[in-house]
């Protein structure tokens, strides 16, 4: 393959595959979140023991958000992934505390790896909002991504799972966690573990970002029945689930950058020093422009990855890595500038910028940081 073919952009279709229905999704999500999740609500939930609002969660389920891309036979709306990415973008902008990302990761795993019977058992309660589900995608600190450090051993007609998985989103509220584990033959199985489970410790983590809860899962020889293994599990499925997760997280982070931009812009128009709004000074104006540029580029990558997910699957993995890599660094830079340009106020608890700052810190390495994905991309080009 020549370098040029490899580098070619995905075909995102006429008008970026964006239709009136997409606009409807975006606009109604924006309205819903403006009503249900102003910053005061975000701050309230930071101190909430559960970490999300049950009635908002029910409403999201009723609006059909959870099943956006789930096939209709499984109770979903079977919309294209661009709809889902737009929902994530809006949630990232509003900083909605919820286990939505956790559930989407679990749903992806179930959709791709479950038999129809397994899917029929586990998917409907997730879509209805009754059951929170999640995926234990992070390896223990320091391990290689995808090493599937957790092990599954066949025993007594089922399996026994042993291992530790940190940073499992929403795990403390979840009734179901999908755990990737290495099997004796070296393959990777995805195991649906119902919680609580006597041999699964769920230790709530204290995150710098209390708007998104996570826990550490310790699987101390947890027995699960044979039917807990998602039958169509494979390494390739795990990779597809991760690609989807990266796409959605990148969209959420792009929304976060946009929120930081908007708040910094507004402050620069309002705060006066030396007799004029600080936004009149190029030392403030130009960095805000740079944040705008990064917000737009992050959005293009994330939405482009969402379009490729269904329209150009062969390029989805690559684009999802680009989107996550770019968003990780751009969000980090945007919040750094955001705090700095708010001056002394930006450094306080009262200033809302801190909320996105912490989300940026906590999301930066989830599902792989920029360096990790750039290394993969470089290898694809034939590099190191």
């Amino acid at each position: 393959m020549t370098a040029l073919d490899l580098l070619a952009l995905p075909d995102v279709g006429e008008e970026f595959s964006f239709s009136d229905e997409h606009e409807l999704t975006r606009a109604s999500a924006r309205r819903f979140l403006a009503e249900r999740c102003p910053t005061s609500e975000v701050r309230r939930l930071m101190d909430d023991p559960v970490g999300h609002d049950a009635s908002t969660w029910r409403s999201m389920a009723e609006l059909g958000w959870l099943g956006t891309t789930v096939p209709q036979p499984l109770g979903g709306a079977a919309l294209d992934p661009l709809h889902l990415a737009l929902l994530f973008e809006e949630q990232g902008r509003a900083l909605l505390p919820s286990p939505f990302l956790a559930c989407q990761l679990a749903l992806s795993a179930l959709e791709l790896a479950a038999t129809p019977e397994q899917a029929a058992r586990w998917i409907p309660p997730i879509l209805s909002g009754e059951q929170i589900a999640t995926l234990a995608f992070e390896e223990p600190s320091g391990a290689s991504r995808g090493a599937a450090d957790t092990r599954a051993v066949p025993a007594r007609g089922g399996w026994v799972l042993v291992g530790v998985r940190p940073h499992v989103l929403g795990a403390a509220s979840a009734g179901l966690v999908i755990v990737p584990a290495t099997e004796p033959d070296g393959g990777v199985g995805l195991f649906a573990v119902e919680l609580p489970h006597p041999c699964v410790l769920v230790e709530a983590e204290r995150s710098v970002d209390t708007t998104r809860r996570a826990a550490r899962l310790v699987l101390e020889g947890a027995s699960v029945p044979a039917a807990a293994r998602l039958e169509r599990s494979s390494r390739a499925v795990v990779e597809r689930v991760e690609a989807r997760g990266r796409t959605l997280l990148a969209a959420e982070m792009a929304g976060g950058i946009a929120a930081v931009l908007e708040r910094t812009r507004a402050y620069a128009c309002e705060r006066e020093q030396f007799g004029r709004p600080i936004g009149a000074f190029q030392a403030v104006k130009h960095p805000i422009v740079d944040t705008m540029v990064s917000a737009e580029l992050a959005r293009s990558l994330a939405l482009g990855a969402a379009v490729a997910w269904s329209r150009e699957p062969a390029r989805h993995d690559t684009l999802s890595r680009m989107a996550k890599a770019y968003a990780s660094d751009a969000f980090a830079v945007a919040v750094r500038r955001g705090v700095q340009l708010h001056g002394g106020y930006g450094f306080t608890w009262d200033c809302d910028i801190q909320l996105w700052f912490k989300r940026a810190v906590a999301s930066r390495a989830l599902l792989g940081d920029a360096l990790h994905h750039r290394r993969w991309l470089a290898a694809a080009l034939g590099g190191a």
């Binding site: 370098a3 006429e14 805000i288 705008m292 939405l303």
Partner: protein, 402 residues
């Protein structure tokens, strides 16, 4: 608009024609872009290429047929551009005419102006240059001092001094900004002319670039006559029209977005090839993790720019800040291009010093030359600093500085 199957047939024909017709490189050094056309032999070689492309029916897809174009057909234009990039065809020498002057004349010209100016512009028979900047009016364009005085017979007499005038030495026409009403405010006093470069009283003096190449000039006007029908739009409307030209110049026109993306990808592809080919400490440069990381970052940004250009075709996706993408396009791609070009020189190690006339210069010294020429894009057509002001104020509504 073409139907999909018609379009694919058109693509096949274009590809075949290009395969047969893209000329071999000449014995003399070609300029890298339209900004550096210096010698008559370069001009004629490049003009010949533009003529053949036009005569074969592959140029003019944004101009109606009555003005010499092929009828407005964005899809065919896109296909041709993609095939030109793939075939590594030479650039089009009348770039200023095709991209800046042409669209402006199409928007603001009289019927007579369009019929007169556009056909030879498309074919490259008449080249265009741009007379906007002056020695004291660069970033602060509206402070320009060139005067055009209306005569009793409706013609004008022009006196003044323009600089950084690309291809003025070969151009038949200039899009010229001049002050017609010194008493009016600095914007309202400006008019826009389609000025004949063969007028008496016009002197073109070449300026050398830092690369030692020519291609741009200063142009002195000493009471030079401009015909009555040389005014584009109304007297005093010049600033508004100039802003439209600058929008074209900054790549705002969404029709061009996809082809620009293809061009950026092609540049990146060449640097990736370079990184595979060049060795560093005994291994390909691309095997160096730090260099590979930087290339990967440029790839990501290139994809982001390309996808953003594609997003300009979905107005609903950009409703909140409709001008954000068009206005940031030139800023982002010119800075990206400069970083890419600088990285290429770094890949060369000490050989980056070998210049055009050294037989061992990697790729004839074009990487180092390209890095220097990249400043033409971050400075010309509004410096990056000015563009950040424009975006901050016009897109984000930040207060104006004083």
């Amino acid at each position: 608009m073409s139907q999909p199957d018609e379009l694919e047939a058109f693509r096949a024909r274009a590809r075949e024609w290009l395969l047969a017709n893209v000329p071999a490189r000449p014995s003399f050094k070609l300029p890298q872009t339209f900004l550096e056309v210096e010698a008559r032999e370069q001009l004629e070689w490049l003009r010949d290429w533009q003529r053949r492309l036009y005569d074969a029916g592959y140029l003019g897809f944004d101009v109606p047929e009555e003005y010499g174009g092929r009828g407005v057909d964005r899809e065919r234009r896109r296909v041709v551009t993609e095939e030109l990039v793939r075939a590594r065809a030479p650039f089009l020498v009348n770039f200023i005419g095709l991209e800046w002057a042409g669209p402006t004349i199409l928007t603001f010209g009289t019927e007579a102006q369009k019929r007169r100016m556009l056909p030879p512009l498309l074919r490259g028979d008449e080249l265009w240059c741009q007379g906007f900047s002056e020695p004291a009016a660069g970033s602060d364009l509206a402070s320009l001092q060139t005067r055009a005085v209306r005569q009793a017979d409706g013609t004008y007499r022009v006196t003044g001094h323009k600089v950084w005038t690309t291809v003025a030495h070969f151009a038949s026409w200039m899009i010229l900004l001049a002050r017609t009403d010194p008493a009016a405010n600095k914007y309202a006093g400006i008019s826009y002319f389609l000025f004949p470069m063969d007028a008496t009283g016009v002197t073109v003096e070449p300026l050398l670039k830092m690369t030692g190449e020519g291609g741009f000039n200063q142009v002195l006007f000493d009471d030079a006559p401009s015909p009555a029908d040389s005014l584009l739009g109304e007297e005093g409307q010049g600033w508004t029209i100039a802003m439209t030209t600058l929008t074209f110049e900054r790549g705002a026109a969404e029709t061009h977005a996809r082809e620009r993306a293809a061009a950026l990808l092609a540049q990146l592809g060449r640097v990736v090839e370079l990184a595979r080919e060049r060795e560093r400490e005994g291994a390909p440069a691309l095997a160096d993790p730090v260099l590979a990381d930087r290339i990967a970052q440029l790839w990501i940004e290139c994809a982001a720019i390309g996808l953003s250009m594609a997003r300009t075709r979905a107005p609903a996706l950009n409703a909140e800040r409709p001008f954000a993408l068009p206005l940031m396009n030139k800023l982002v791609s010119s800075e990206w291009n400069q970083r890419l070009a600088e990285l290429a020189t770094e890949l060369l190690g000490a050989d980056a010093a070998l210049w055009l006339d050294d037989p061992r210069a990697p790729h004839g010294g074009d990487w180092t030359r390209g890095y220097m020429n990249s400043f033409g894009m971050t400075i010309g057509g509004g410096t990056s600093e000015i563009l950040r002001n424009v975006i901050g104020e016009r897109v984000l509504g930040l207060p104006k500085g004083k």
